[in-house]
């Protein structure tokens, strides 16, 4: 049969952000895949060197719209470690609360995108409708649905009043109720299982070889979860359960993420129930003492590493962010060959690619 090259080019209904996937297809079987990224590369690391630390927080927030709070948390923590600042517990708790809320909203968003990729538009509509409530909570707390602007170096800018906390708890309970439809979907819905079970399998060796992180790795048996391995912010006094499965197919990833949403719900409730009292921020100096610092946090898609190097001035000498989507993209090249063309959509959407993160 003839071999044709199917481009899932920069513009394609399957992918929300530009990525160039070239598939060598024979009949309905994928033989080889080539992935090109960089369409969303805005040279942010270069830009950050020309902005002061405080301005950097606004730029870092625009690296990725879905996990903006994760990026600012990592960046601020890195500079707080560099400048040896002591962040007050209430700021840590609010920062962690928003991290977990963002994880819920990111996973629900992903569930909708995967459902739309395999043709299940109803679940896309339901998942994104439930997600609106999480966005409402975040908007009530920080004023912004997507770019919250809550983190500043040394703490947090917005406070969570008792009334907001009560509202949030009510919405989270309602969300826990609505999660039952997605748990049923991932456990028992035959048409969903038929399109995701045993597809795009990733072995444990691949996970170790490519250094894959986050829910994609935890669906293949890896146990790396920075919230447990190196607790930061308020995770030191929270017990973070984690879901680890072994099958490693798209269904296992869906199950891991749905379980993580439920764990995040309980974490949010714990945080909201006992928000420690105290100040919101500490004074942060304009000039950060010379040196370098590395921090890792658990973004919705996995381990997010930030490296900040300062030369004593008020602008960072070098900022490097390694986002969790990069290893998943590398592994995609091994997952795609051998697939049926119909499954490419499920695997690419199942890997929860965030190109804005990958390209920076």
């Amino acid at each position: 049969m003839t071999r044709i090259t199917v481009p899932i080019g920069p513009q394609h209904p399957l992918i929300k952000e530009p990525i160039a996937i070239r598939l060598d297809v024979q009949g309905e079987r994928v033989l080889a895949a080539e992935i090109g990224i960089g369409y969303v590369h805005r040279g942010l690391e270069h830009l950050l060197q020309r902005r002061t630390y405080a301005q950097g927080v606004a730029i870092v927030e625009r690296i990725c719209g879905i996990c903006s709070h994760a990026h600012t948390t990592a960046y601020c923590q890195c500079i707080e470690a560099l400048a040896l600042l002591e962040t007050p517990p209430r700021a840590l708790a609010i920062r962690t609360l928003l991290c977990e809320l963002e994880r819920i909203h990111s996973h629900l968003l992903w569930l909708g995108v995967l459902a739309e990729a395999i043709g299940f538009n109803t679940i896309f509509m339901y998942a994104w409708r439930e997600r609106e409530q999480v966005l409402d909570i975040m908007e009530a707390i920080s004023g912004g649905r997507i770019a919250h602007g809550v983190n500043v170096i040394g703490g947090v800018r917005e406070d969570v009043t008792a009334q907001q906390a009560r509202q949030a708890l009510a919405m989270l309970n309602a969300l826990r109720e609505q999660m039952r439809t997605f748990v049923d979907l991932v456990e028992r819905d035959r048409s969903f299982l038929r399109r995701t079970q045993g597809i795009g399998r990733l072995t444990r060796e691949d996970v170790r070889a490519y250094g894959i992180v986050g829910p994609v790795a935890r669906a293949s048996g890896a146990t790396l979860d920075i919230r447990r391995a190196a607790p930061y912010a308020a995770y030191t006094w929270l017990h973070v359960p984690h879901a680890v499965l072994v099958e490693g197919d798209v269904l296992a990833r869906a199950r891991v993420r749905v379980a993580e949403v439920q764990y995040s719900l309980s974490l949010c409730e714990q945080l909201l129930a006992a928000l420690p009292e105290g100040a919101l921020t500490t004074r942060s100096p304009r000039r950060v003492p010379e040196g370098e610092a590395i921090t890792r946090i658990e973004a919705p898609r996995g381990e997010l590493l930030y490296y900040v190097r300062s030369d004593g001035s008020d602008k960072p000498a070098r900022v490097h962010a390694r986002t969790p989507t990069l290893p998943t993209l590398m592994a995609l090249r091994t997952m795609l060959p051998g697939l049926h063309t119909g499954d490419v959509a499920a695997v690419v959407a199942g890997a929860d690619l965030c190109m804005a993160c990958a390209d920076r």
């Binding site: 929300k16 952000e17 530009p18 968003l109 994104w128 609106e132 649905r145």
Partner: protein, 139 residues
């Protein structure tokens, strides 16, 4: 008479095509939010189309980076007349916060004739629907 009928058709059935030429996907997810139950753009007849040939409005998010300049132009050329371009979000209008980066060309209006600028970083779903409605009145 035919002209009025065509104009009515174009106003009542604007099919959009979305392309992210370098943005942080904040505006993209807000644009997709517009199709979901709470905002539901289908009541205005707005559908998100798969192929440039079927679309009337090209909704661009994000500043134009060097690497996504050619794909953007190619998509615009594939779209049949009459077509409009909407720049969604501050960085699509004027390359916003990413101004001065070596890999960013600038706003979308550097390349394409933009008929509507939607401010906001990211812009809210209500703002997107309101501005699309404004564009439809201008047709």
């Amino acid at each position: 008479m035919i002209e009025r009928l065509l104009r009515w058709g174009r106003i009542k059935s604007p099919w959009i095509l979305h392309y992210n030429s370098g943005g942080c996907n904040g505006c993209d997810i807000e644009l997709l939010d517009v199709l979901t139950p709470r905002y539901d753009a289908e009541r205005l007849g707005i559908l998100k189309e798969a192929a440039p040939r079927h679309a009337d409005i090209l909704v661009c998010t994000g500043p134009v980076t060097l690497k996504s300049r050619d794909p953007l132009l190619r998509i615009y050329e594939q779209m049949p007349e009459p077509r409009w371009v909407v720049a969604l979000g501050a960085c699509a209008c004027t390359s916003g916060i990413f101004t001065g980066s070596y890999h960013v060309l600038g706003g979308v209006d550097r390349l394409l004739p933009v008929s509507l600028y939607v401010p906001g970083c990211p812009c809210r779903p209500e703002a997107i629907i309101r501005s699309l409605a404004n564009l439809l009145e201008k047709i």
